[in-house]
Amino acid sequence: MSSNVTLPVAEEFEPRIVAFFCNWCTYTAGDLAGAARLAYAPNMRVIRLMCSGRVDPEFVLAALRQGADGVLIGGCHPGDCHYREGNYKCLRRFQLLCKFLRQMGVEEQRVRLEWIAASEGDKVQKIANEMTAQLKLLGPLRLQITPRVNGRPRAAECPPAPTKGVAP
């Protein structure tokens, strides 16, 4: 590499946030934020699940691996879960996952669990903005690169076969 390459002017770092929202409370709150035209940072991308209890820590890790700088999990307030206790199961896993993430040098602001009721459109706005601002301060998540060799990926890295309809 020659050393006199002109670098492009550094753009402001735009963090990428993957959000897992439960269908009944938080996703609805997101819709409400939209209906109320509450503008917020465009960095958060929402994946709808039926319940925060569906959030597998592997999803969070996969999102970070795939380039997310932050992950937000949104569920119903304690006691309000549409499925009675899914949000509590999520809370249990989240706490253990966080402990592990701290060991791995992932700052606590990057992975958050928030209870957002269907009526709290403003909370979606607030948290999206807040998290974006915090991640901008933190900068990109600097995960170490695992060089992927040309060969076949390990079985454990293959997309699980049985649920796949057809190879794209």
Binding site: E58, R92, F100, G105, A156
Partner: protein, 330 residues
């Protein structure tokens, strides 16, 4: 017809994998009769130059145990990959990074600092560190360079099969050898072990209640362990539900919980993530503070859930300023 040529090499490992070959006992004679060892540094006096002299693909199969952490190991892995038709990652370190992989919680700098300066037993007044090359009166000598991180074999070269375990159970080795010799191998990329979790057929399975929730996590060295009852039901962190079976319940039979050396089943993306999800879900409380208090007793999640596979996990290593580059996987 000449016997198939076979190699066996070690990288960052403890030697346990070699022991597991010795554990074949008399069966090793059958192996010796069936194959021709052309490279086996722990047992036979072949040199690297002998391998370099071989034609590419000259070996029918080569097994490598141990993780990859140094320039020499990387070079040998690449060399053996070229020479072998089938490259097998043998043992947990080669398969997933193994216990040496836990070094990925630290950076190289701090590891060297600890070893060459900070440990109480170190006497190193000149703060001398290993150098890649050193001038001595007789000329220049070279040492392998330590990589920034520990990697599994397949993070360095393409791997055809994996024999899991720390060390691999004898039966898996026997089955693998038989498969190689008969040519009845599964699709490439397979782990040569059953694809169901250890709980299946576990001798203690009948004692596991259907509605098990956990009130307290216990640590095996601090408590008496009931030798009959499901270990998880006793509150010990047994990773059997998340771990690939095939070990013959060696630890369980020794009254110790599974620590996960055979790694995940094929449907899991991140072994520790899956194990944490299952175990944390079973915490018998909905109160934030109480959950936290219970999880307090899991003092080292990384060491508990990624004991044998941090490099193969989705996060690979501790994030931070010493990343090779600021970016993400391409």
């Amino acid at each position: 017809m000449s016997k198939p040529k076979v190699g066996f090499y070690w990288c960052a490992s403890c030697g346990g994998c070699e022991e597991s070959v010795v554990d074949l006992a008399e069966a090793i004679l059958d192996v010796a009769a069936a194959v021709d060892f052309v490279f086996f540094p722990v047992a036979m006096d072949f040199k690297r130059s002998d391998v370099e002299a071989m034609a590419d693909g000259a070996m029918a199969a080569c097994m490598i145990n141990g993780a990859i952490r140094s320039s020499e190991q990387r070079a040998m892995a690449k060399l053996l990959r070229r020479k072998a038709q089938i490259l097998i990652a043998y043992g947990a370190c080669s398969h997933q990074g193994g216990i040496p992989g836990l070094a990925n919680l630290f950076d190289r700098q701090s590891i060297l600092q600890t070893v060459y300066r900070d440990t109480p037993s170190t006497v190193n007044p000149g703060d001398i560190r290993p150098e890649a090359s050193t001038r001595i009166p007789h000329g220049e000598v070279e040492l392998p360079v330590l990589d920034e991180q520990v990697k599994s074999l397949d993070q360095v070269v393409p791997v055809d099969y994996y024999i899991p375990g720390c060390a691999p159970p004898v039966q898996l080795l026997k089955d693998a050898l038989a498969a190689i010799l008969t040519g009845r191998l599964p699709p490439k990329g397979s782990v040569l072990a059953p694809d169901k979790a250890l709980c299946e057929q576990c001798p203690r399975a009948p004692s596991k209640p259907d509605n098990l929730l956990i009130d307290q996590f216990k640590r095996p060295h601090l408590e008496r362990i009931d030798p009959e009852k499901c270990l998880l039901a006793q509150g010990f962190l047994c990773l059997g539900p998340a771990t690939r079976g095939g070990c013959g319940w060696a630890c369980i039979n020794a009254n110790m919980p599974c620590t996960g050396c055979l790694g995940p089943v094929s449907r899991t993306r991140d072994y520790g993530g899956a194990a944490m999800s299952a175990l944390a879900s079973l915490v018998n409380s909905n109160d934030e503070a109480q959950i936290a208090a219970m999880l307090e007793t899991i003092v080292d999640p990384a060491g508990t859930f990624y004991r044998y596979g941090l490099p193969a996990s989705l996060l690979f290593a501790r994030a931070g300023a010493n990343a090779d580059k600021g970016g993400h996987e391409p």
